[in-house]
Amino acid sequence: MPNEKSRVGKILIDHQTALLEGWLATLVARLGRHETAVESEFRNQATRFLLLLGNAINIAGCSEIDSAAWTGTRQLLEEISANRVRQGYSSIETANFVFSLKEPITAYLQNELAGDPSALVIEITATDALFDKLGLFTVEAYQKTREQIILRQEQELMELSTPVVQLWKDILALPLIDTLDSARTQVIMESLLQKLVDTGAAIAIIDITGVPTVDTLVAQHLLKTVAAARLMGADCIISGIRPQIAQTIVHLGVDLQDVITKASLADAFEVALQRTNAAIVQKAS
C-alpha cells in the first residue's frame, strides 16, 4: 500500500530525536536502576536501531523483514540479543527493547492521522505486525545465543571431568568416573590421544573402576580409542573392570581382541612398567 511505506518511515525520520528520547526514557525506567554505562549502551543501540529501522521501512516497507533491505536491522537485533544473554537479561527484557518503541510510534501515528480513522487503523495494524515480527526475531536470536553458550559450557565441563594424568615416565592414566555417553567418550578419546602426542608416552592405562555400566556403544568407543592409540605408536591397557562389567561385556558379545585388560589399576601399572623396561625396587630397610 502506498502510504504504508512512507508514513511510519516518515515519522521515524522527522521525529527521530524525540522518538529516541521517549523510547530511551521507557527503556531506562524499565531497568529499575540507574547505571550510566548501561544507559549509554542502550542509547547507542537505540540510535542505531532507529536509523536502520527507518532505512529498512523506507526501502522495503513493513512486511518482509527477511528481505535484504532488513539485513542490517536483523544483524543489529542479533548483536543486541547476544549481548543481553551474556549480561544476564531475560528473554522478555530483551524483547522489550523492541516492543517499547511501539508506543511512541503509535502515539505519533494517532496524532498525524487523527482525522482519518480508517487510515489510522491500517497503519496501526501494520506497525503492530511489524513489531511483533521484530520482537519474535529478537527472542529467537536470544535463544540461539543461549543454546550456544550452554553447548560450550557442556563441552568445557566434559573436558574438565576427564583429566589425563602422567603416572610415571612414559605411562599415562585416565581414570574415568561416572556414566559414559557417546559425546563424553569422544571428548575423552581426543584428549587422551592428544596427551599421548604431547608427552610421547608409550602406554595409557584407562581405568574404568568408576564407571557403573558399560554398553556396546561405550565398549566400541573404548576399543576405537585403543586402536587409534596403537596406530599412533602407543598402547592402552584397560583396568578396573568390575565383575558385573566383565559379565556384561561377554553377554553383549563384545570382542576385546588383543586388548590387555586388568581387574585393578595396580596390575595394569605393573604390566606398564614391564613394557617400558622399568621396575620398582624394594629397598632393604
Binding site: 592428544q194 599421548l196 602426542v197 610421547g200 596406530l231 599412533m232 605408536g233
Partner: protein
C-alpha cells in the same frame, strides 16, 4: 597431501631406497591433519614396497584426528610400524638391528 603427490612419493622413495641402499625409512606425518582411505592405503603400500627392498619402515607423528579417521575407516595399516615421534622411531629402527 593430494593423490598425485602420494604417487610421486612412492616413486621417489623406492628409487632412493635402492640408490642409497637404505635399510630404514622413517616417514614423518606430523604435518598431516587429515588422512583419507587413499592416503592410508598409499602408506601401507609404501611400507610393503620398502620391505620388498629390504628396508624397514616406521611411521611417526600421527595426529590424533588422523588416527581416529583411520580407525573409523577400518584401516589398520597392518605391517606398518608406528611410533609417536622421531626419537622413538629411531629407537625402533635401532631395535631392528639396523645400526
Amino acid at each position: 597431501m593430494h593423490d598425485r603427490l602420494a604417487m610421486t612419493l612412492q616413486d621417489d622413495l623406492t628409487n632412493r631406497i635402492v640408490k642409497d641402499r637404505a635399510k630404514g625409512v622413517l616417514i614423518d606425518i606430523s604435518a598431516l591433519d587429515l588422512v583419507d582411505s587413499f592416503i592410508g592405503r598409499m602408506i601401507n603400500n609404501i611400507a610393503a614396497m620398502a620391505k620388498i627392498l629390504d628396508s624397514h619402515t616406521v611411521l611417526v607423528g600421527m595426529q590424533p584426528a588422523v588416527a581416529m579417521t583411520l580407525v573409523e575407516l577400518g584401516l589398520t595399516l597392518r605391517g606398518v610400524k608406528t611410533a609417536l615421534n622421531v626419537e622413538q622411531g629411531m629407537k625402533m629402527l635401532k631395535f631392528d638391528n639396523l645400526f
